[in-house]
Amino acid sequence: MNAVRLQRGFASALVWIDRIEKWLLTILVLILVLLAGGQILLRNLFGGGISWADPFLRTLVVWTAMLGALAAVRDDKHIAVDVLQRFLPAGAQRIARIVTLLFAAVVCAAMAWYSIAFVGIDFATPANAVSDGVPGIAPWVLESILPVGFGLMALRFLLRAFSPPAHAAALLHDPADIPAVNAP
């Protein structure tokens, strides 16, 4: 009984993470566009922009990239060389999927671990921070997307390894098996 409840709780937590991720991504990208566009107007019309805008925008690029990479795990859209995969039988494809995605999960977990150390360095001595920050926000806060992003990616790769692929690998000779491409 408890196991079922735990499983349900886990599933709803995942749904919430997806939802938060999607909205966070939307909001951050809209800020990116508005701030970057506004900065040009300010600079060209009034001769001066917001001084903290540039480092803030550069940080936003990393945040949106990490969230985008996290979303790419869910849709199986990470760039990979899938030449061989096309020629494997279905069973072998499943095994290949589990092996490669578990490998990615381990790498992401390792990166999450090392990123915690990286963020920890700037947390302990903010004065010698590796990155230049934005006034009012400590560098370690800006950098925290690395451990969070890689940690969630590790978790999601682990789950994806045992889920069916989001889109079947296209085969050379049998177009009937290819699902219509969803226009992105």
Binding site: T64, A96, Y114, L146
Partner: protein
């Protein structure tokens, strides 16, 4: 031990492991072997936040995806049709121009193929173009705009190449200028072939003046875009990242607030699609920043050069080998990751052989552009196969004359640097 690890990684790569994870693993192992902690890889990765040019990539990509989701492709086709539709092979030329324009914006050739293929393929078939010709033309035109500003691969090449502080430096606006004539060469040669091929087809009437005017009015909101970018960048009013910001803000306002072709409810989905591509590319870039540093510390490009020089002494010989190498890797890796991974290895070697780094960028992209739809593994073959519901083998056969034309273009671009450099230097 090293061989064992290399073998394991190669196997994982062949089985389809995410590229970024492979690069990250190599970087972690490499740093570890030279006594540096893994934290250094995280620090190198975070250098993504120190690259001001990078901001153009999410911005232009979003602008491209917004345009692709809106009715802009349809309006673009209508306008180019009113302009060029009456020429022999008019609709084919329309397809070539529209695809080039669109890929220049999105940098994502597959998106162009899907978005414009849906409009253009039925139109070409209706105008009685052969099926085979139409398939080949659209599949090859999908990647045509890669060399045109503001394409994302050009920006990416600039960002990666700037790591090397070459003389002369690789400014992104220099790349934008360098890509102009080579793009025109490809567009003109493909158009000429199309006109010749479809000389037997009945030519549609020249569009009435009313239709041209209506098409212009229809596309009135999109028309300023090329001018903002071209004039802004080519005349040095705007840095590439500023042009990206202006373009994206404008496109966002037009598609969502003025034309309302993308609703607020749909916006998160479109943004997610665009950022998914950006994230997948930038995460590879982040780890390759770490790897590049390690490669340079370990003198890998230098030893590669020494090894190459033993068998290839001339610049021309080097370029020939480079062409073959890039075609194969462009096919296996697609455009973006190929740039990120190969530029750090190839650029230092090419400099030794006296190749201009800006010219090298154009050579790179011209080759990758073909590699993207080259058999047996070029991604666009499979996208075209799915889009047009034809077997990939049919698409490959349909593309044969287009491979020939574009290969000719690549050879001209490679061995005639003037074409790329006259507007730059």
């Amino acid at each position: 031990m090293t061989l064992l690890i290399a073998g394991a990684l190669l196997l994982l790569a062949a089985l389809g492991a995410p590229l970024f994870a492979l690069i990250a693993a190599i970087a972690l192992l490499g740093f570890g072997a030279s006594g540096q902690p893994g934290t250094a890889v995280a620090i190198e990765f975070y250098r993504l936040a120190d690259m001001p040019a990078l901001i153009a990539i999410p911005l232009f990509t979003l602008a491209g995806y917004l345009l692709a989701e809106s009715q802009a492709p349809r309006r673009l086709v209508r306008l180019t049709n009113a302009l060029f539709g009456w020429l022999p092979g008019g609709l084919a030329i329309v397809s070539i121009c529209a695809c080039a324009f669109f890929t220049a914006f999105t940098g994502a050739t597959g998106v162009t193929l899907v978005a414009l293929g849906a409009v253009l393929y039925p139109a070409m078939r209706q105008a009685r173009y052969e099926e085979r010709f139409s398939l080949g033309l659209l599949t090859s035109a999908g990647s045509l705009g890669l060399l045109l500003a503001p394409s994302m691969p050009l920006i990416l090449y600039g960002v990666v190449a700037q790591q090397f502080h070459t003389t002369p430096p690789v400014a992104i606006d220099a790349l934008f200028k360098a890509g102009l004539l080579p793009s025109l060469l490809m567009i003109v040669l493909l158009s000429a072939y199309s006109a010749w091929h479809s000389r037997g087809l009945p030519r549609p009437e020249r569009a009435a003046r009313g239709e041209l005017w209506a098409a212009i009015k229809d596309a009135a909101w999109e028309l300023p875009l090329p001018f903002v970018i071209l004039i802004g960048i080519y005349a040095h009013f705007l840095a590439p990242s500023e042009a990206a910001a202006a373009t994206t803000l404008y496109v966002l306002i037009v598609t969502v607030l003025i034309r309302r072709e993308i609703g607020f409810a749909e916006l998160p989905r479109v943004i997610r699609e665009a950022m998914l591509l950006v994230g997948a590319i930038l995460i590879v870039l982040g780890f390759s920043l770490a790897l590049t540093n390690w490669l340079i510390d370990a003198d890998v490009p230098e030893s590669l050069f020494g090894w190459l020089q033993a068998s290839i002494s001339s610049k021309l010989g080097f370029l020939l080998v480079l062409n073959a190498f890039l075609l194969v890797f462009g096919m296996l890796l697609e455009g973006f990751p190929a740039i990120i991974i190969l530029v750090p290895l190839v650029l230092p070697i090419a400099l030794h052989y006296g190749v201009d780094p800006v010219h090298l960028g154009i050579i790179f992209l011209a080759n990758l552009q073909i590699g993207i739809f080259l058999p047996p593994a070029g991604m666009n073959l499979f996208i075209a196969s799915a889009r047009f519901h034809r077997p990939a083998t049919t698409i490959i056969r349909a593309c044969l004359p287009f491979y020939a034309i574009l290969l000719l273009c690549v050879l001209i671009i490679t061995y005639w640097p003037w074409l790329s450099l006259v507007l730059v230097r």
